[in-house]
Amino acid sequence: MFVSFGKFGKIGYVSETKVADFMKYLGQGKIMATRCSKCGKLYFPPRADCPDDLSTDMTWQPLSGKCKLLTYTTAHFAPTGFQDDLPYTIALAECEEGVKVYALLSKDINGKEIHIGMDLQLAPLRLSNGRITYELKKA
């Protein structure tokens, strides 16, 4: 089943993209990166086009989801549409494949446990309004 990219995240601003298949895989529980067939560079978030050699020949590759926390912040103010979720923790993590991921930390993680360098697991998350995203959970 085709899922529009517009369903990505709590609020989406982009609905049309060459990497819309990302949503199909996410629905199957897989978080996919793209790899340039020409130079071999891995991209996450996935890109359809490689700027290094102008190639559009990309293949999908699943990420293991194993990550380490690089930095984070707990937001107490939010843009329109996110206020009901406050406070929430935005994180940047590094995946074992070397790419980085920007996502929220799971609400299951106790604030006191959060520390830079902690092991995390990137996982798909279905939201109550039929949308889908990914989050960083405790490993």
Partner: protein, 382 residues
Amino acid sequence: MNVAIVGVGQTPFSRNCGISIRELCFDAFREALEDLNLTPKEIDASIVCSAPEYDKQRSPAGLISEYLGLNPQPTFYAESICSSSSTGVKVGYSFIKSGLHDIVAVIGFQKMSEISSAEVQERMGRGADIQWESPFGTMMPAGYAMYARAHMQKYGTTEEQLAKVKVKSGKYSLVNPLAMFRRAVTVDECLKARVIASPLKMFDCCANADGASCVIMASEEKAKKITDTPVWVAGIGAASDTLSTTSRTNLTGLDCAIEAGNQAYKMAHIEPKDVDVAEVHDCFTIAEIMAYENLGFCKPGEGGKLIEESQTYIGGKIPVNVDGGLLSKGHPIGATGGSQIRTIVLQLQGRAGKTQVDGAEVGLVHNIGGIGLYGNVTIFKR
């Protein structure tokens, strides 16, 4: 051929200024032309700078150039969010250097009260990569907070040191009549203020404002006829970084600022130690600490110590933001760079009043757009 700044102007920065954008720009323009041997008709190009998402007026350059009496000369629009007017100055420099134009007015403005709080709130969410990062509810303070957290982890920078940047800002705001917040604050007040995005609290963050700035630039030949006190553009650097956080490698400094600074120092043939007074983009306290390091005023990781030792006050190693900075002045996005340049020009002309740095000959402006997205460093000499 050298390029000079011959005139500078700025309106008070405030909330709900009560006048229209054309009038704001006029007030800054009028100050910039004061005491100059120059009429608007002799200005042969204008560059208008703002962040369009806060404007109701479509294509503001048309409106502003008309109101300032700058038709039929060509007018241009420059945008790099918070560093738009520094970008305008770089474009103006290129116009003059190329011989296309001799005298250029760079007008920066923003009336952030023009749109409702709800509209501001909505726009804030779209400052990041809208496909992959905005869907997580991020905004400006969160972006800088992530740098602050990483800086604290790597270098041991403390929340007290961040607070001390605001304490300095508050001190100098008391003698800047154009600043929006004119009040001294203590470290304790800063630490107890409500959290915006941890570890940044209210006093770690600058505030939206209404305001305008104007910088008049001229070729060497014209400058000498216009004023007895031209200030020379000695070096200009500009760089960009990735919009997406996931593509950044340096999480404890802004690479675009390092690159822009290196370009400007090289062009001006000076080193960081030669700078007598600096204006840096302190949209957040951590941004000022990273600026110290990125501009070479101290080593990476020693920014916290530099403020701790009061080395960025007047009388210290390198006075920084002695007009109160964005933290006290407020941050009317498109006007900010021009306001920073005005402060440095007044310093180099010996007209800075109570915050005059004695004998200042070399000044530097560091103006950043976005979360380390656009870096602009400009060096001026007397």
